[in-house]
């Protein structure tokens, strides 16, 4: 357990130190800033569509770190050394999921909070948006880790990763953005269920991909 904490700590420190953490945040904020420019400053329209736009921006922000999640450590032999020390592929993937969420989830929530001001979201709508994103970010992190592990070592992994992630993220988007509408209370529960499922399968799917790439 102590070794897993050591691995997670290294990843998190590296993400924040390299500035890679803030790239999705800046992207997220700029996407949210562009939207009012594009559709005009109609407050009613922004209130109606803003939540959905912020959700789509969250999905796109998930794509940005894909090629840095697994590939560098795999190429550098870090994972080989962990395996030699008796740490399983699943453990490595689980640690990567936790460390990626720590570097991705909280900054994204902060950015969503800031961006919601640009859309004029407040009160209950803001609360629901942040709750839905908080529930979904572990699943988005899980999808990113799975896809990064699957495409590690391939040419053009970034573009392929985008193609793979978008369809897999559709359920999250439907229930996440759906929770923002008036009759959306059940949607949050569905979102939680999907999120749990994705988080639960990530260590095994990504672990299998890591062990396959070694052969």
């Amino acid at each position: 357990m102590k070794s897993i904490a050591t691995i997670i700590w290294r990843d998190v420190r590296q993400s924040y130190a390299s500035g890679g953490t803030w790239l999705p945040v800046i992207f997220y904020l700029s996407a949210a800033t562009l939207f009012p420019f594009a559709v005009g400053p109609d407050r009613a329209l922004l209130l109606q569509t803003g939540g959905g736009i912020l959700w789509i921006a969250a999905l796109l922000a998930t794509l940005l770190p894909l090629d840095r999640l697994i590939q560098p450590d795999l190429e550098n032999g870090i994972y080989d050394q962990l395996i030699v020390r008796g740490i399983s592929d699943e453990m490595i993937a689980a640690a990567r999921l936790v460390s990626h969420w720590l570097a991705f989830g909280p900054p994204l929530l902060l950015a969503a909070f800031l961006a919601s001001g640009l859309m004029g979201l407040e009160g209950e709508a803001l609360g629901t948006l942040l709750a839905s994103l908080a529930i979904a970010t572990p699943a988005l992190a899980g999808l990113a880790v799975m896809i990064a592990a699957l495409t590690a070592g391939l040419k053009g992994a970034g573009a392929l990763g985008g193609l793979l992630l978008v369809p897999l993220a559709i359920p999250l988007l439907i229930f996440g953005a759906g929770s923002l509408s008036a009759q959306g209370s059940g949607a949050l529960l569905f979102l939680s269920a999907i999120s749990l499922l994705l988080v639960a399968i990530t260590p095994f799917a990504a672990g299998a991909a890591l062990s396959a790439v070694r052969e």
Binding site: N76, G77, V84, G86, R214
Partner: protein, 208 residues
Amino acid sequence: MDKGQSTGSSERLLAEAISCVRGERLLFRNLAFALEAGQAGLVTGPNGVGKSSLLRLVAGLLQPSAGSYIAPETKALCDDRLALDEHLPLEQTLGFWARLDGKGPADVDDAMTRAGLGHLTEIPVRYFSTGQRQRARLARTYLTGARLWLLDEPANGLDTVSVDQLGRALQQHLDDGGIILAASHIPLPIAFNFTLKLEQLEELEACL
């Protein structure tokens, strides 16, 4: 004894009739060898014959396609991959492995000194030369405290002084009851208990 599994607490390395197929090519078959505590084995042969694969197999990174082996629980692999964070100073990035291996800062210092890197502890690894990178790999290996050292071309890029230094570290490990399995083209200054000569298996390849 399961196929391809090390049974853990063994004090020696024992391989029984192991074969390895990679990319539909038979690299070697029916390899058998044994190394007791304090013994060293050398693997030789032309490029691409499967020396690195043999070391990776014993390290647990590859599965043998047939046969089985038992190995000590603690293993250290030194291959061509650096496995160090290039933007961090040597001492810090070795510190990550030290924490995983249950070692302290004093052990990191000791490993760096033994690898002849005592003067580079504060330098980020990306500025290292080829030989210094190789010594950093060796320092990471010394640091593990593992019983079995698997060394893939450990003297690559080293100058003569560093090769002597490497020889002293290897001898020290053997004297402490460690085991070494090394693949090297450059003669290493320790006495090996056996030399395992791998050869191309061209006729066999045709039969497959």
